[in-house]
Amino acid sequence: MRIQGLTVGQSVSTLKANWFLQTASEASLYVSAKISFTPVSPRSVCNVYAYLLSATSPLHFINRIASSQTSIPDPSSYYVSEGFYERERERIFLGESLILSSIGFDVQVALPHTLALTYLQALGVPSKQLANRVLEHLNSGLLSPQLLYLTHQPNALAVAAIYLAAKEVGVKLVDGNWWEVFDVDREDLGFVVLAFGSFEGFATAEEEKWKNGKLDLRSLLERG
């Protein structure tokens, strides 16, 4: 298979950091949407990524001056021509086949979100505020560098999110080791609770890196 501009000399890790960065992101979203009730067209994906990776992107690691921007973003900076779209569409399809073959076509993912809500009802604390906090932790866990969704089963993630959220919101749960009812042992609970709790610190540290200009995703992408 020939890919324009890439040579055998480049190591696999550099290849991945640059070319796959955008492609894998687009493709994984495209694939997940495809197998859901809400598929998206390649054109939509292309338009959205063109915007997010443009000079007027709202993302701080793409566009460091975004925070000081008060004017309306200039549409010409994320305009997608037909030629550009054709190339990007090919990129998405290529990315799709690479991702699928790489993960062995196993796209089944059991998520902890509904499980957590069920557990909250079982525990007799279906408060909206608590549920929101639980979901916030679960969604942050998706971004955590510890790859929690790959190292722990959804019941452990759900239980840990509930434990931590209840502490933060101030909701009292039943006494005793209630997590064992949901097949989660104390070790796993502790580990994941710690991981959820440390995420905020990690995110703040990364944001500092972007502000200081130590990491520039745009130049990384341009090199690739």
Binding site: V12, A17, L29, S32, Q108, Y149
Partner: protein
Amino acid sequence: MSRIMASVADLEHLANPLITAQQLYSLQDDDRDSAENGRSIRYMQAILTQAAGVLLRLPQEVVAVSLVLLQRFWVEGHGQGHTSADPRVDSWPVCVHS
């Protein structure tokens, strides 16, 4: 027979294949060997994906699945070059510039 098949299918909705400790370590080792930015890059990529999901008005479940697939992709890819009994690793395409 059909009862057994049904229970196997049910389990899929409650459990995921998990990665081994070795796979996690090999990912972290590669982070150290390269520019040490692996973790930050993956984090930025995850945020990019989440933001794109919001703009595409996708339900959070879909975005969550895509982020997990992305993570699986990263881990599988880092199996390249390490001895592994996993047959999926061998299907990693080789990019050749002619």
